[in-house]
Protein backbone atom coordinates (compact mmCIF):
# COMPACT_ATOMS: atom_id res chain seq x y z
CA UNK A 1 0.00 0.00 0.00
CA UNK A 2 1.35 3.36 -0.89
CA UNK A 3 0.03 6.85 -0.63
CA UNK A 4 1.42 10.16 -1.53
CA UNK A 5 0.05 13.40 -0.25
CA UNK A 6 0.74 17.08 -0.66
CA UNK A 7 -1.34 20.11 0.20
CA UNK A 8 -1.07 23.84 0.37
CA UNK A 9 -3.25 24.33 3.45
CA UNK A 10 -1.83 26.06 6.48
CA UNK A 11 -2.31 22.97 8.63
CA UNK A 12 -0.07 20.74 6.57
CA UNK A 13 2.24 21.71 3.72
CA UNK A 14 4.11 19.66 1.12
CA UNK A 15 3.86 16.39 2.92
CA UNK A 16 5.04 13.41 0.95
CA UNK A 17 4.75 10.10 2.73
CA UNK A 18 4.67 6.49 1.64
CA UNK A 19 3.19 3.96 4.00
CA UNK A 20 3.91 0.29 3.37
CA UNK A 21 1.60 -2.55 4.27
CA UNK A 22 2.39 -3.85 7.74
CA UNK A 23 4.11 -0.65 8.86
CA UNK A 24 3.83 0.55 12.41
CA UNK A 25 4.35 4.22 11.75
CA UNK A 26 4.28 6.95 14.36
CA UNK A 27 3.57 10.58 13.48
CA UNK A 28 5.46 12.48 16.18
CA UNK A 29 5.31 16.21 16.71
CA UNK A 30 4.20 19.09 18.90
CA UNK A 31 0.61 20.30 18.90
CA UNK A 32 -0.28 22.24 15.81
CA UNK A 33 2.05 20.35 13.49
CA UNK A 34 -0.85 18.95 11.53
CA UNK A 35 -0.42 15.31 12.49
CA UNK A 36 -4.08 14.88 13.35
CA UNK A 37 -5.09 16.68 10.16
CA UNK A 38 -2.90 14.29 8.20
CA UNK A 39 -4.52 11.33 9.94
CA UNK A 40 -8.02 12.62 9.22
CA UNK A 41 -7.14 13.03 5.56
CA UNK A 42 -5.84 9.47 5.41
CA UNK A 43 -9.15 8.36 6.93
CA UNK A 44 -11.06 10.35 4.33
CA UNK A 45 -12.71 12.50 7.01
CA UNK A 46 -11.14 15.64 5.55
CA UNK A 47 -10.25 16.20 1.92
CA UNK A 48 -6.79 17.55 1.00
CA UNK A 49 -6.97 21.01 -0.54
CA UNK A 50 -4.11 20.16 -2.86
CA UNK A 51 -2.42 16.94 -3.78
CA UNK A 52 -3.90 13.52 -3.33
CA UNK A 53 -3.78 10.20 -1.61
CA UNK A 54 -3.01 7.20 -3.75
CA UNK A 55 -3.88 3.72 -2.63
CA UNK A 56 -2.03 0.74 -4.07
CA UNK A 57 -5.11 -1.28 -3.26
CA UNK A 58 -8.21 0.87 -3.56
CA UNK A 59 -10.25 -1.56 -1.45
CA UNK A 60 -8.06 -0.62 1.53
CA UNK A 61 -9.49 2.89 1.42
CA UNK A 62 -12.70 1.65 3.06
CA UNK A 63 -10.93 -0.86 5.26
CA UNK A 64 -9.95 1.41 8.13
CA UNK A 65 -10.21 1.37 11.91
CA UNK A 66 -9.97 4.67 13.77
CA UNK A 67 -9.23 5.30 17.44
CA UNK A 68 -9.74 8.83 18.77
CA UNK A 69 -8.04 10.54 21.69
CA UNK A 70 -11.18 9.95 23.76
CA UNK A 71 -12.77 6.51 23.81
CA UNK A 72 -15.73 7.99 21.88
CA UNK A 73 -18.17 5.28 22.94
CA UNK A 74 -21.94 5.47 22.78
CA UNK A 75 -22.88 5.87 26.47
CA UNK A 76 -26.33 4.32 25.95
CA UNK A 77 -24.89 1.06 24.61
CA UNK A 78 -23.09 -1.78 26.35
CA UNK A 79 -19.47 -2.56 25.56
CA UNK A 80 -20.67 -5.36 23.30
CA UNK A 81 -23.07 -3.17 21.32
CA UNK A 82 -20.41 -0.50 20.97
CA UNK A 83 -18.10 -3.06 19.39
CA UNK A 84 -20.75 -4.55 17.10
CA UNK A 85 -21.52 -1.08 15.66
CA UNK A 86 -19.08 -1.18 12.70
CA UNK A 87 -20.21 -4.71 11.83
CA UNK A 88 -23.89 -3.78 11.97
CA UNK A 89 -23.25 -0.76 9.75
CA UNK A 90 -21.52 -3.12 7.33
CA UNK A 91 -24.63 -5.29 7.27
CA UNK A 92 -23.27 -8.24 9.26
CA UNK A 93 -26.10 -10.25 10.88
CA UNK A 94 -26.61 -9.65 14.59
CA UNK A 95 -25.56 -13.14 15.87
CA UNK A 96 -22.34 -13.17 13.86
CA UNK A 97 -21.57 -9.56 14.79
CA UNK A 98 -21.99 -10.37 18.47
CA UNK A 99 -19.81 -13.43 18.23
CA UNK A 100 -17.02 -11.50 16.55
CA UNK A 101 -17.37 -8.64 19.04
CA UNK A 102 -17.16 -11.05 21.98
CA UNK A 103 -14.02 -12.53 20.50
CA UNK A 104 -12.49 -9.09 19.99
CA UNK A 105 -13.39 -7.97 23.53
CA UNK A 106 -11.64 -11.08 24.82
CA UNK A 107 -8.58 -10.13 22.76
CA UNK A 108 -8.38 -6.79 24.57
CA UNK A 109 -8.87 -8.62 27.89
CA UNK A 110 -12.42 -7.47 28.47
CA UNK A 111 -14.11 -10.87 28.49
CA UNK A 112 -16.90 -10.72 31.07
CA UNK A 113 -17.54 -7.00 30.55
CA UNK A 114 -19.72 -7.35 27.45
CA UNK A 115 -22.81 -6.01 29.20
CA UNK A 116 -21.13 -3.17 31.09
CA UNK A 117 -22.03 0.40 30.12
CA UNK A 118 -19.17 2.84 29.41
CA UNK A 119 -19.80 4.84 32.60
CA UNK A 120 -19.16 1.68 34.62
CA UNK A 121 -15.73 1.19 33.04
CA UNK A 122 -12.41 2.83 33.92
CA UNK A 123 -10.61 5.08 31.42
CA UNK A 124 -8.24 2.31 30.35
CA UNK A 125 -11.07 -0.18 29.87
CA UNK A 126 -13.04 2.31 27.79
CA UNK A 127 -10.03 2.75 25.56
CA UNK A 128 -9.78 -1.03 25.19
CA UNK A 129 -13.41 -1.11 24.06
CA UNK A 130 -12.57 1.62 21.56
CA UNK A 131 -9.63 -0.42 20.24
CA UNK A 132 -11.78 -3.54 20.03
CA UNK A 133 -14.34 -1.57 18.02
CA UNK A 134 -11.63 -0.36 15.64
CA UNK A 135 -10.22 -3.87 15.13
CA UNK A 136 -13.45 -5.87 15.00
CA UNK A 137 -13.78 -5.41 11.24
CA UNK A 138 -10.22 -6.76 10.83
CA UNK A 139 -9.14 -3.57 9.06
CA UNK A 140 -5.97 -3.46 7.03
CA UNK A 141 -5.21 0.03 8.33
CA UNK A 142 -5.54 1.18 11.94
CA UNK A 143 -5.40 4.94 12.51
CA UNK A 144 -4.86 6.14 16.08
CA UNK A 145 -5.03 9.79 17.12
CA UNK A 146 -3.14 10.14 20.42
CA UNK A 147 -5.27 7.34 21.85
CA UNK A 148 -3.50 7.03 25.18
CA UNK A 149 -2.70 10.70 25.84
CA UNK A 150 -5.46 11.09 28.41
CA UNK A 151 -4.54 7.98 30.41
CA UNK A 152 -2.24 7.66 33.39
CA UNK A 153 1.24 6.34 32.71
CA UNK A 154 0.76 2.87 34.18
CA UNK A 155 -2.38 2.29 32.12
CA UNK A 156 -0.63 3.75 29.07
CA UNK A 157 2.32 1.32 29.38
CA UNK A 158 -0.07 -1.59 29.69
CA UNK A 159 -2.07 -0.56 26.64
CA UNK A 160 1.18 0.05 24.70
CA UNK A 161 2.20 -3.55 25.39
CA UNK A 162 -1.20 -4.91 24.44
CA UNK A 163 -1.36 -2.89 21.23
CA UNK A 164 2.10 -4.07 20.23
CA UNK A 165 1.11 -7.66 20.84
CA UNK A 166 -2.07 -7.30 18.78
CA UNK A 167 -0.04 -5.77 15.97
CA UNK A 168 2.57 -8.54 16.11
CA UNK A 169 -0.19 -11.15 15.91
CA UNK A 170 -2.32 -9.59 13.19
CA UNK A 171 0.12 -7.41 11.23
CA UNK A 172 -2.32 -4.72 10.22
CA UNK A 173 -0.84 -1.37 9.23
CA UNK A 174 -0.80 1.26 11.99
CA UNK A 175 -0.47 5.02 11.78
CA UNK A 176 -0.16 6.27 15.34
CA UNK A 177 -0.25 9.98 16.15
CA UNK A 178 1.55 10.91 19.36
CA UNK A 179 3.46 13.75 20.99
CA UNK A 180 5.44 11.39 23.20
CA UNK A 181 8.97 10.48 22.09
CA UNK A 182 8.99 7.51 24.49
CA UNK A 183 5.72 6.13 23.23
CA UNK A 184 6.74 6.46 19.58
CA UNK A 185 10.06 4.67 20.14
CA UNK A 186 8.42 1.91 22.14
CA UNK A 187 5.71 1.23 19.57
CA UNK A 188 6.76 2.21 16.09
CA UNK A 189 9.23 0.88 13.57
CA UNK A 190 9.03 4.11 11.60
CA UNK A 191 8.91 7.44 13.39
CA UNK A 192 7.99 10.37 11.21
CA UNK A 193 8.92 13.61 12.98
CA UNK A 194 6.75 16.58 12.07
CA UNK A 195 7.40 20.29 12.51
CA UNK A 196 4.78 23.00 13.07
CA UNK A 197 3.62 26.15 11.23
CA UNK A 198 3.13 25.02 8.60
CA UNK A 199 2.88 21.32 9.40
CA UNK A 200 5.51 19.36 7.49
CA UNK A 201 7.68 16.28 7.74
CA UNK A 202 11.07 17.13 9.22
CA UNK A 203 12.78 13.78 9.68
CA UNK A 204 12.26 10.06 9.82
CA UNK A 205 13.88 7.59 12.22
CA UNK A 206 13.64 3.82 12.33
CA UNK A 207 13.60 1.42 15.27
CA UNK A 208 14.50 -1.97 13.74
CA UNK A 209 12.53 -5.02 14.87
CA UNK A 210 15.68 -6.71 16.19
CA UNK A 211 16.31 -3.77 18.56
CA UNK A 212 12.78 -4.08 19.88
CA UNK A 213 13.38 -7.80 20.50
CA UNK A 214 15.83 -6.85 23.26
CA UNK A 215 14.86 -8.13 26.68
CA UNK A 216 13.06 -5.50 28.76
CA UNK A 217 13.11 -3.14 25.79
CA UNK A 218 11.53 -0.26 27.70
CA UNK A 219 14.40 -0.13 30.21
CA UNK A 220 17.20 -1.18 27.84
CA UNK A 221 20.12 1.07 26.74
CA UNK A 222 19.04 0.55 23.12
CA UNK A 223 15.65 2.07 23.93
CA UNK A 224 17.32 5.00 25.65
CA UNK A 225 19.61 5.55 22.67
CA UNK A 226 16.69 5.59 20.25
CA UNK A 227 14.79 8.00 22.51
CA UNK A 228 17.78 10.35 22.57
CA UNK A 229 18.09 10.28 18.81
CA UNK A 230 14.39 10.89 18.20
CA UNK A 231 14.41 13.64 20.83
CA UNK A 232 17.20 15.41 18.97
CA UNK A 233 15.36 15.03 15.69
CA UNK A 234 12.29 16.58 17.32
CA UNK A 235 14.24 19.52 18.80
CA UNK A 236 15.88 20.15 15.43
CA UNK A 237 12.48 20.05 13.75
CA UNK A 238 11.04 22.60 16.17
CA UNK A 239 14.08 24.88 15.94
CA UNK A 240 14.14 24.87 12.14
Amino acid sequence: MAKRYATGTLAVQDVGLTIERGDFLALLGPSGCGKSTLLRMIAGLDAPSAGSLEWADSAARRDIGFVFQEPTLMPWSTALRNVTLPLELAGVARPEAEQRARHMLARVELAGFENAYPRQLSGGMRMRVSIARALVTKPRLLLMDEPFAALDEITRFRLNNDLLKLWQDERFTVVFVTHSVFESVFLAERIVVMAPRPGRIAAERRVPAEDRAAAEFRTSPIYAAHCREVSHALSDAMAA
Binding site: L45, F66, F68, S77, L85, L89, A116, P118, R119
Partner: protein
Protein backbone atom coordinates in the same frame (compact mmCIF):
# COMPACT_ATOMS: atom_id res chain seq x y z
CA UNK B 1 -2.20 -7.61 34.98
CA UNK B 2 -5.82 -7.02 35.66
CA UNK B 3 -7.16 -3.60 36.47
CA UNK B 4 -10.41 -4.89 35.13
CA UNK B 5 -13.27 -4.27 37.46
CA UNK B 6 -16.49 -2.34 37.22
CA UNK B 7 -16.49 1.06 38.83
CA UNK B 8 -18.60 0.78 41.98
CA UNK B 9 -21.99 2.47 41.83
CA UNK B 10 -22.43 4.95 44.65
CA UNK B 11 -24.59 3.39 47.38
CA UNK B 12 -25.96 5.53 50.14
CA UNK B 13 -26.68 4.04 53.58
CA UNK B 14 -30.40 3.77 54.19
CA UNK B 15 -33.43 2.39 56.00
CA UNK B 16 -36.13 0.05 54.65
CA UNK B 17 -34.62 0.07 51.16
CA UNK B 18 -34.63 3.86 50.83
CA UNK B 19 -31.54 5.99 51.47
CA UNK B 20 -31.57 8.50 54.32
CA UNK B 21 -31.49 11.32 51.76
CA UNK B 22 -34.58 9.83 50.15
CA UNK B 23 -36.36 9.65 53.52
CA UNK B 24 -35.45 13.27 54.16
CA UNK B 25 -36.83 14.21 50.76
CA UNK B 26 -40.13 12.52 51.62
CA UNK B 27 -40.46 13.36 55.32
CA UNK B 28 -39.35 17.00 55.41
CA UNK B 29 -41.87 18.32 52.84
CA UNK B 30 -44.60 16.08 54.35
CA UNK B 31 -43.99 17.60 57.75
CA UNK B 32 -44.15 21.15 56.36
CA UNK B 33 -47.37 20.22 54.54
CA UNK B 34 -49.00 18.78 57.67
CA UNK B 35 -47.98 21.78 59.78
CA UNK B 36 -49.41 24.19 57.21
CA UNK B 37 -52.69 22.26 56.97
CA UNK B 38 -52.92 22.13 60.76
CA UNK B 39 -52.32 25.88 61.09
CA UNK B 40 -54.89 26.53 58.36
CA UNK B 41 -57.54 24.38 60.05
CA UNK B 42 -56.80 25.97 63.42
CA UNK B 43 -56.96 29.51 62.00
CA UNK B 44 -60.27 28.84 60.24
CA UNK B 45 -61.83 27.51 63.42
CA UNK B 46 -60.27 30.03 65.81
CA UNK B 47 -61.25 33.11 63.78
CA UNK B 48 -64.54 31.50 62.68
CA UNK B 49 -63.90 32.28 59.02
CA UNK B 50 -67.11 31.63 57.05
CA UNK B 51 -66.87 28.68 54.65
CA UNK B 52 -67.72 30.84 51.60
CA UNK B 53 -64.55 32.87 52.30
CA UNK B 54 -62.07 30.16 53.29
CA UNK B 55 -63.01 26.56 54.07
CA UNK B 56 -60.71 24.50 56.30
CA UNK B 57 -58.78 21.57 54.84
CA UNK B 58 -61.02 19.00 56.55
CA UNK B 59 -64.14 20.51 54.96
CA UNK B 60 -62.38 20.58 51.57
CA UNK B 61 -61.51 16.89 51.97
CA UNK B 62 -65.11 16.07 52.92
CA UNK B 63 -66.42 18.02 49.93
CA UNK B 64 -63.98 16.20 47.67
CA UNK B 65 -65.18 12.81 48.89
CA UNK B 66 -68.87 13.76 48.77
CA UNK B 67 -68.62 15.15 45.22
CA UNK B 68 -66.17 12.53 43.97
CA UNK B 69 -68.78 11.11 41.58
CA UNK B 70 -69.18 14.29 39.53
CA UNK B 71 -65.63 15.60 40.12
CA UNK B 72 -64.05 12.37 38.84
CA UNK B 73 -66.01 12.70 35.59
CA UNK B 74 -64.65 16.24 35.16
CA UNK B 75 -61.17 15.03 36.05
CA UNK B 76 -61.45 12.36 33.36
CA UNK B 77 -62.40 14.97 30.76
CA UNK B 78 -59.52 17.27 31.72
CA UNK B 79 -57.07 14.36 31.79
CA UNK B 80 -58.17 13.27 28.34
CA UNK B 81 -57.39 16.71 26.88
CA UNK B 82 -54.12 16.88 28.84
CA UNK B 83 -52.78 13.54 27.67
CA UNK B 84 -53.85 14.00 24.08
CA UNK B 85 -52.18 17.43 24.06
CA UNK B 86 -49.03 15.95 25.61
CA UNK B 87 -48.97 13.09 23.10
CA UNK B 88 -49.39 15.46 20.15
CA UNK B 89 -46.82 17.87 21.63
CA UNK B 90 -44.33 15.05 22.14
CA UNK B 91 -44.71 13.49 18.71
CA UNK B 92 -44.97 16.75 16.78
CA UNK B 93 -42.17 18.39 18.82
CA UNK B 94 -39.95 15.39 18.19
CA UNK B 95 -40.79 15.27 14.48
CA UNK B 96 -40.19 19.01 14.05
CA UNK B 97 -36.88 18.94 15.89
CA UNK B 98 -35.71 16.02 13.75
CA UNK B 99 -36.67 18.09 10.72
CA UNK B 100 -34.71 21.04 12.16
CA UNK B 101 -31.69 18.82 12.77
CA UNK B 102 -31.75 17.62 9.17
CA UNK B 103 -31.90 21.06 7.63
CA UNK B 104 -30.43 24.25 9.00
CA UNK B 105 -32.54 26.32 6.59
CA UNK B 106 -35.78 24.81 7.87
CA UNK B 107 -34.67 25.38 11.45
CA UNK B 108 -33.75 29.02 10.82
CA UNK B 109 -37.00 29.70 8.95
CA UNK B 110 -39.41 28.03 11.36
CA UNK B 111 -37.88 28.36 14.82
CA UNK B 112 -38.82 32.06 15.29
CA UNK B 113 -42.47 31.15 14.73
CA UNK B 114 -42.26 28.46 17.36
CA UNK B 115 -40.94 31.14 19.71
CA UNK B 116 -43.79 33.50 18.79
CA UNK B 117 -46.28 30.74 19.50
CA UNK B 118 -44.58 30.16 22.84
CA UNK B 119 -44.47 33.78 24.04
CA UNK B 120 -48.03 34.67 23.02
CA UNK B 121 -50.19 34.30 26.13
CA UNK B 122 -52.56 31.40 25.61
CA UNK B 123 -55.40 33.23 27.39
CA UNK B 124 -55.22 35.88 24.67
CA UNK B 125 -55.52 33.52 21.71
CA UNK B 126 -57.70 30.83 23.25
CA UNK B 127 -60.97 32.75 22.50
CA UNK B 128 -59.93 33.06 18.84
CA UNK B 129 -59.19 29.36 18.58
CA UNK B 130 -62.47 28.49 20.23
CA UNK B 131 -64.33 30.73 17.77
CA UNK B 132 -62.47 29.34 14.75
CA UNK B 133 -62.66 25.67 15.62
CA UNK B 134 -66.17 24.26 15.75
CA UNK B 135 -65.37 21.16 17.74
CA UNK B 136 -64.77 22.33 21.30
CA UNK B 137 -62.66 19.26 22.15
CA UNK B 138 -60.33 19.98 19.24
CA UNK B 139 -60.15 23.65 20.21
CA UNK B 140 -59.15 22.75 23.77
CA UNK B 141 -56.61 20.28 22.44
CA UNK B 142 -55.02 22.93 20.23
CA UNK B 143 -54.76 25.39 23.14
CA UNK B 144 -53.15 22.83 25.43
CA UNK B 145 -50.82 21.73 22.66
CA UNK B 146 -49.60 25.30 21.97
CA UNK B 147 -48.61 25.66 25.61
CA UNK B 148 -46.99 22.24 25.86
CA UNK B 149 -45.02 21.72 22.71
CA UNK B 150 -42.27 24.33 22.91
CA UNK B 151 -40.13 22.80 25.70
CA UNK B 152 -40.07 19.51 23.82
CA UNK B 153 -39.20 21.17 20.54
CA UNK B 154 -36.45 23.38 21.92
CA UNK B 155 -34.94 20.75 24.24
CA UNK B 156 -34.89 18.03 21.61
CA UNK B 157 -33.37 20.40 19.06
CA UNK B 158 -30.53 21.16 21.47
CA UNK B 159 -30.14 17.43 22.14
CA UNK B 160 -30.00 16.49 18.47
CA UNK B 161 -27.32 19.12 17.94
CA UNK B 162 -25.11 18.02 20.84
CA UNK B 163 -24.00 14.79 19.23
CA UNK B 164 -20.34 13.82 19.81
CA UNK B 165 -18.55 15.01 16.65
CA UNK B 166 -16.06 12.17 16.83
CA UNK B 167 -18.89 9.64 16.87
CA UNK B 168 -20.39 11.30 13.79
CA UNK B 169 -16.97 11.02 12.11
CA UNK B 170 -16.74 7.39 13.14
CA UNK B 171 -20.10 6.58 11.59
CA UNK B 172 -19.14 8.43 8.42
CA UNK B 173 -15.94 6.39 8.33
CA UNK B 174 -18.01 3.22 8.32
CA UNK B 175 -20.20 4.59 5.54
CA UNK B 176 -23.33 5.19 7.63
CA UNK B 177 -26.24 6.95 5.89
CA UNK B 178 -27.68 10.18 7.36
CA UNK B 179 -30.65 8.08 8.44
CA UNK B 180 -28.36 5.71 10.35
CA UNK B 181 -26.57 8.65 11.98
CA UNK B 182 -29.94 10.00 13.07
CA UNK B 183 -31.24 6.70 14.36
CA UNK B 184 -28.12 5.34 16.01
CA UNK B 185 -26.54 8.57 17.21
CA UNK B 186 -28.60 11.74 17.22
CA UNK B 187 -31.83 10.33 18.65
CA UNK B 188 -30.18 8.47 21.56
CA UNK B 189 -28.10 11.59 22.31
CA UNK B 190 -31.26 13.71 22.31
CA UNK B 191 -33.18 11.27 24.52
CA UNK B 192 -32.29 12.84 27.92
CA UNK B 193 -33.07 16.32 26.53
CA UNK B 194 -36.38 15.11 25.11
CA UNK B 195 -37.35 13.53 28.43
CA UNK B 196 -36.45 16.70 30.33
CA UNK B 197 -38.68 18.62 27.91
CA UNK B 198 -41.44 16.06 28.39
CA UNK B 199 -41.34 16.57 32.17
CA UNK B 200 -41.90 20.31 31.71
CA UNK B 201 -44.53 19.80 29.03
CA UNK B 202 -46.52 17.36 31.17
CA UNK B 203 -47.34 20.13 33.64
CA UNK B 204 -47.80 22.70 30.88
CA UNK B 205 -50.32 20.61 28.96
CA UNK B 206 -52.44 20.39 32.10
CA UNK B 207 -52.19 24.17 32.54
CA UNK B 208 -53.03 24.65 28.86
CA UNK B 209 -56.06 22.38 29.15
CA UNK B 210 -57.31 24.19 32.27
CA UNK B 211 -56.81 27.66 30.78
CA UNK B 212 -58.62 26.65 27.59
CA UNK B 213 -61.48 25.19 29.62
CA UNK B 214 -61.72 28.44 31.56
CA UNK B 215 -62.06 30.42 28.34
CA UNK B 216 -64.48 27.95 26.81
CA UNK B 217 -66.18 27.51 30.17
CA UNK B 218 -69.40 29.35 29.41
CA UNK B 219 -69.89 27.06 26.42
CA UNK B 220 -70.98 24.52 28.98
CA UNK B 221 -70.51 21.38 26.94
CA UNK B 222 -67.01 20.66 28.16
CA UNK B 223 -67.36 20.16 31.88
CA UNK B 224 -63.73 19.67 32.80
CA UNK B 225 -62.25 20.61 36.17
CA UNK B 226 -61.81 24.25 35.20
CA UNK B 227 -65.51 24.49 34.43
CA UNK B 228 -66.28 23.01 37.85
CA UNK B 229 -64.06 25.65 39.47
CA UNK B 230 -65.85 28.42 37.56
CA UNK B 231 -69.26 26.98 38.34
CA UNK B 232 -68.46 26.58 42.04
CA UNK B 233 -67.19 30.18 42.07
CA UNK B 234 -70.44 31.54 40.57
CA UNK B 235 -72.46 29.60 43.14
CA UNK B 236 -70.15 30.58 46.01
CA UNK B 237 -69.53 26.90 46.73
CA UNK B 238 -66.00 27.71 47.83
CA UNK B 239 -65.30 24.27 49.41
CA UNK B 240 -66.13 22.64 46.05
CA UNK B 241 -63.88 25.13 44.32
CA UNK B 242 -61.04 24.15 46.62
CA UNK B 243 -61.76 20.46 46.11
CA UNK B 244 -61.49 20.87 42.32
CA UNK B 245 -58.32 22.92 42.80
CA UNK B 246 -56.80 20.14 44.93
CA UNK B 247 -57.58 17.70 42.14
CA UNK B 248 -55.89 19.92 39.54
CA UNK B 249 -52.72 20.32 41.63
CA UNK B 250 -52.68 16.65 42.57
CA UNK B 251 -52.99 15.69 38.92
CA UNK B 252 -50.09 17.96 38.02
CA UNK B 253 -47.92 16.37 40.70
CA UNK B 254 -48.82 12.85 39.59
CA UNK B 255 -48.04 13.69 35.95
CA UNK B 256 -44.67 15.13 36.96
CA UNK B 257 -43.79 12.11 39.11
CA UNK B 258 -44.87 9.66 36.41
CA UNK B 259 -42.76 11.39 33.76
CA UNK B 260 -39.80 11.59 36.16
CA UNK B 261 -40.12 7.86 36.76
CA UNK B 262 -40.29 7.18 33.03
CA UNK B 263 -37.17 9.29 32.51
CA UNK B 264 -35.35 7.52 35.33
CA UNK B 265 -36.21 4.06 33.99
CA UNK B 266 -35.07 4.91 30.48
CA UNK B 267 -31.82 6.63 31.46
CA UNK B 268 -30.66 5.04 34.69
CA UNK B 269 -28.23 2.65 33.07
CA UNK B 270 -26.24 5.16 31.09
CA UNK B 271 -26.98 8.79 31.81
CA UNK B 272 -25.38 10.81 34.59
CA UNK B 273 -28.66 12.57 35.42
CA UNK B 274 -30.25 9.28 36.52
CA UNK B 275 -27.34 7.86 38.50
CA UNK B 276 -27.55 6.24 41.94
CA UNK B 277 -25.87 9.32 43.38
CA UNK B 278 -28.56 11.64 42.03
CA UNK B 279 -29.09 14.40 44.55
CA UNK B 280 -31.63 16.62 42.95
Amino acid sequence: MSDNELLPEYQEPGFLGLSYTMWLRILAPSLIGLLTLGAWEWAVRYYEVPRYILPGPILVAETLVRNWGSLSVSLGITLQITFMALAVAASLGLALSVLFAQSRIIELSLFPYAVILQVTPIVAIAPLIIIWVDNIQVALLICAWIVAFFPILSNTTVGLNSTDRNLVDLLRLYGASPWQVLWRLRLPTAMPYFLAGLRISGGLSLIGAIVAEFVAGSGGRASGLAYRILEAGYQLQIPLMFAALVLVSGTGIVIFLALSLLSHLLLRRWHESAGAGDRR
